[in-house]
Amino acid sequence: MAQVSMTVNGKAVKRSVPDTTLLSEFLREHLRLTGTHVGCDTSQCGACVVHVDGRAVKSCTMLAAGADGASVVTIEGLAKDGALHPMQTAFNDNHGLQCGFCTPGMIMSGVDMVARYKAEGRELTEAAIRHELEGNICRCTGYHNIVKSIQDAAARM
């Protein structure tokens, strides 16, 4: 068993979990934060993306123990004081989701990519968004409105 302490969505949590517990499993099963989804077992789909110390991470590829001491933000922690994050609003405004299963990962990846490009002073073009979404699969939307959502949010963020 591993003793794991971290901050999740601003709250300190501490659990004793089997060594092999993945971060995705830790969030879903131990903290019952089920907004983080698991859509594959080969680290391809991105449904599980969360932020660990400010960076987008596929939580299915990281052990919970590996996030010991880290600050983790999940989809549940993105809205602040009831106000949706601009990326969340943009997904609603632009019909960037259908079944919603890929959506938490898409939004977390979107927030990360906009922030990164802004910090690096690079332009987040349509082509760049499509390329950045390499690790996020959506089966419903054909990506059209996901790309539009991220473009829209980038303008608002």
Binding site: G35, C45, F91, C140
Partner: protein, 786 residues
């Protein structure tokens, strides 16, 4: 802004999904929950000669290890196919036995042999590994075009030669004669590649047996929970219908694959009774590839005859359809009544004949996947039309126009009676939006960059709604394909709509509310859509075949009619006015030309207080309706793809995609366009990327997202979407359906564009870089030599 029919209303359901509050089956945790892990056959075909579970049973956390013979002893029934197809010689289809856990034989790699129930998922998996199964391997048959070979391995004893049925439609003699006398004949061998539906949410089930009540509850990833309950009770004998509640909560996509009742749900229910625990199972993606029903997998020969002017004289099709190792729930109707009945396409063809042989192989069962039969038909026709145009030196758009059906209703020689359409108008809109006139300039510009640019067309038609019940019944369907709805107006005037349709991404909570809002002039916020729970909604047939609008909403409209009739009676009585003088608008019932009115909530209150109702009227304001359509609906459209191929690598990029669709009345254009986007992306996926690949011995080679190429964001362009509306004359709102169009229309458009670019007609899906590069080498040695 209006929230009624035609308004681009933002989705009500989004809030929970964008905040991580969606509630999918795997998010549900019951008290006292245990976990199931399945022991699956590593072989495609083998006899099970022994199962030793002692080691697994002794492992920590293991509650039970259960096998097929116990399931059979408990009288759990075999899985069935619910649509009977009759062969041309009059014999019935050959349905081989499919036990939820194999008893004597396994028939595909992944076939379930045993299940372990344990305290944790990890313990269940570890123990499943420890169950020792002895197999006597048998040779396997895998491919559609090998299944009928003399001496091919036999999958089921009941189906000699692996033939499930040998079915035909149309007039063979007349069609042969028409082709024999044709001025030009186009002939093609066409394969429709095998696909894995891949909704992003893997299948999952949580079953609970309540011993005190003798009652079961199943949470499951289903597109049709009532159908699941019916089948689980009537055929699989798990529990009687009134003792089984099926709930399909938020479901993360379906695309057909969540219509069926699979062994896992049956086993979870049964195991919950055996172990007196809640039993949960969630597939991982590898298990999904191995067990979710696949789609398509046809091998066809098509022959089309034309007269001198380019008019089609006859169309003959021979198809072998691979149905996999067992007949899944609706598998039999897909390559017959959902496929061959659409072989007339958008064209006036006097003579059509199709022969379909369905075969067993040692592969995952094959059933409906987005479009189901209609993409296979469309792909055949539209590749034939493009090829024929090239062979005859005609413009492919002109050849299509020359053959378009232009007057309605139109009876095809293959059952369907098209009710309305404007095929020329669709094509006009597509040609304009795609700027086909500017294509030569774009092609020349691409050539300067060393790219081969091509353009391809596809004019699709589909039959949606899958109805009427009497008609499908006469064709062998085991169920009626109507829909039900109940509209409850509360005393405060808010409205709940209970529907038998199921939303797993389609946005029903918004569009259905728009229909109600439109009717009474209420905000959609006052309308709640209830679905997906057999305890709340009395019955329903679920969502597939683009039927939620044409059938599901029509049922709601019928119930709204009844509500409105009662509202008018109440208001006329209270307002002392004639019913004919009343208008319902803006959330009130008004006496036309006066200032007398009842607010909507006052009507609700009047109905429930019942202090002042017309004599003899029952209190309350709640109406139900069953709607059985009189015909299928026929969405149709024209799609144009433009691609650029790199001749050095064979890499294809879809650079433009234009869709002009006729879906009839549109309730929410934003949602409809989203459906087209998603369908087109799946169509591009089929055309360029996706293919389930089995090795000769039946091992699945595409078992993960590393091997099965899903379309990603940079594989697709922004799409241009146009609408050309002719209303459906056969349902109250004139709806046709939009869910499958993209997946039906896109593949031939893309392949026609590539073959245009590289100058060959011979190219199979998926058009991977290697395939395209080889086709270029074969077709244009001059380019290859550059």
């Amino acid at each position: 802004m209006s929230e009624g029919i035609g308004a681009r209303v933002k989705r009500k359901e989004d809030k929970r999904f964008i905040t991580g509050k969606g509630r999918y089956t795997d998010d549900i945790r019951m008290e006292n929950q245990a976990y199931a892990a399945f022991v699956r056959s590593p072989h495609a075909h083998a006899r099970v000669t022994g199962i030793d579970r002692a080691a697994a049973e002794a492992m920590e956390g293991v509650i039970a290890v259960l096998t097929g013979p116990e399931l059979v002893a408990d009288k759990i029934g075999n899985l069935i196919c619910g649509w009977a197809i009759t062969s041309k010689d009059g014999s019935g289809m050959k349905m081989g036995p499919w036990s939820a856990l194999a008893t004597d034989k396994v028939r595909y790699a992944g076939d379930a042999v045993a299940v372990v129930i344990a305290e944790t998922p990890a313990a269940a998996r570890l123990a499943a590994e420890a169950v020792a199964v002895d197999y006597a391997e048998l040779p396997a048959v895998v491919f559609a075009d090998r299944a009928l070979d003399p001496g091919a391995p036999q999958v089921h004893d009941v189906a000699p030669g692996n033939l499930i049925y040998d079915w035909e439609i149309g007039d063979a003699g007349a069609t042969d004669a028409a082709i024999a006398g044709a001025h030009h004949v186009t002939r093609m061998e066409i394969t429709n590649n095998r696909l894995s539906p891949n909704p992003m949410e893997p299948r999952s089930a949580v079953a609970t047996f309540d011993e005190a009540e003798d009652h079961y509850t199943l949470y499951t990833t289903s597109q049709n929970p009532h159908v699941a309950r019916l089948v689980l009770s009537a055929f699989y004998n798990v529990a009687p219908e009134h003792k089984l509640r099926v709930i399909a909560p938020d479901v993360g996509g379906g695309f057909g694959s969540k219509i069926y009742i699979y062994p896992e749900e049956i086993v979870c229910l049964w195991a919950s009774m055996k172990t007196k625990r809640s039993v949960k199972w969630t597939a991982d993606r590898s298990e999904a590839f191995l067990t979710d029903a696949h789609g398509r997998d046809h091998v066809s020969t098509a022959t089309m005859g034309f007269d001198k002017s380019g008019r089609i004289t006859g169309f003959k099709v021979e198809t072998i359809a691979n149905l996999g190792a067992y007949m899944s729930l609706f598998s039999s109707c897909v390559p017959t009544y959902l496929y061959a009945t659409l072989l007339s396409g958008q064209y006036d063809i006097a003579n059509i004949h199709a022969n379909v042989k369905a075969v067993y192989t040692n592969t995952v069962p094959v059933d409906a996947y987005r479009g189901a039969g209609r993409p296979e038909a469309c792909y055949l026709i539209e590749r034939m039309m493009e090829t024929a145009a090239r062979e005859m030196g005609m413009n492919p758009a002109d050849l299509r126009r020359k053959n378009f059906i232009t007057s309605f209703p139109h009876q095809t020689p293959v059952i369907m009676a098209y009710d309305a359409g404007d095929f020329d108008g669709n094509l006009d809109k597509a040609l304009k939006a795609a700027d086909v006139a500017g294509f030569p300039a774009r092609k020349a510009e691409a050539a300067r960059r060393g790219k081969l640019r091509g353009i391809g067309y596809s004019c699709y038609i589909e039959a949606c709604g899958i109805a009427p019940s009497a008609a499908v019944g006469s064709l062998g369907a085991g169920v009626g394909l109507w829909e039900s709805a109940e509209v409850r107006v509360n005393p405060v005037g808010t409205i709940e709509v209970l529907t038998g349709s199921h939303s797993h991404g389609q946005g029903h909570e918004t569009t259905f509310a728009q229909v109600v809002a439109d009717r009474f002039g209420l905000p959609i916020g006052n309308v709640q859509i209830v679905h997906g729970d057999t305890d709340k909604v009395q019955f329903g047939m679920g969502t597939y075949g683009s039927r939620s609008g044409a059938v599901g909403i029509s049922a709601i409209v019928k119930a709204l009619d009844k509500v409105e009739a009662k509202v008018r009676k109440i208001a006329a009585h209270v307002l002392e006015a004639a019913e004919a003088d009343l208008v319902i608008e803006g959330g009130a019932v008004k006496v036309a030309g006066t200032d007398r009115q009842m607010a909507w909530h006052e009507v609700g209150l009047a109905a429930y207080t019942a202090h002042n109702l017309p004599a003899g009227m029952e209190p309350g304001l709640k109406e139900g309706a069953f709607y059985d359509p009189v015909n299928f609906t026929f969405p149709a459209g024209a799609y144009i793809a433009e691609v650029e191929v790199d001749p050095a690598t064979g890499v294809t990029e879809v650079v433009r995609f234009t869709a002009a669709d006729d879906f009839g009345t549109i309730i929410n254009p934003m949602i409809v366009e989203g459906q087209v986007h998603g369908g087109v992306a799946q169509g591009i996926g089929q055309a360029l990327l996706e293919e389930v690949v089995y090795a000769d011995d039946g091992q699945l080679l595409t078992g993960s997202y590393m091997d099965y190429a899903m379309p990603r964001a940079d594989d697709v362009p922004f799409y241009t979407i146009e609408h050309n509306t002719t209303v459906c004359p056969n349902n109250p709102l004139g709806l046709k359906g939009c869910g499958e169009a993209g997946a039906i229309g896109a593949p031939p458009a893309v392949i026609n564009a590539i073959t245009d670019a590289i100058g060959t007609n011979d190219l199979a899906m998926p058009a991977t870089p290697q395939r395209v590069w080889r086709a270029i080498q074969a077709a244009r040695p001059a380019i290859a030599a550059e």
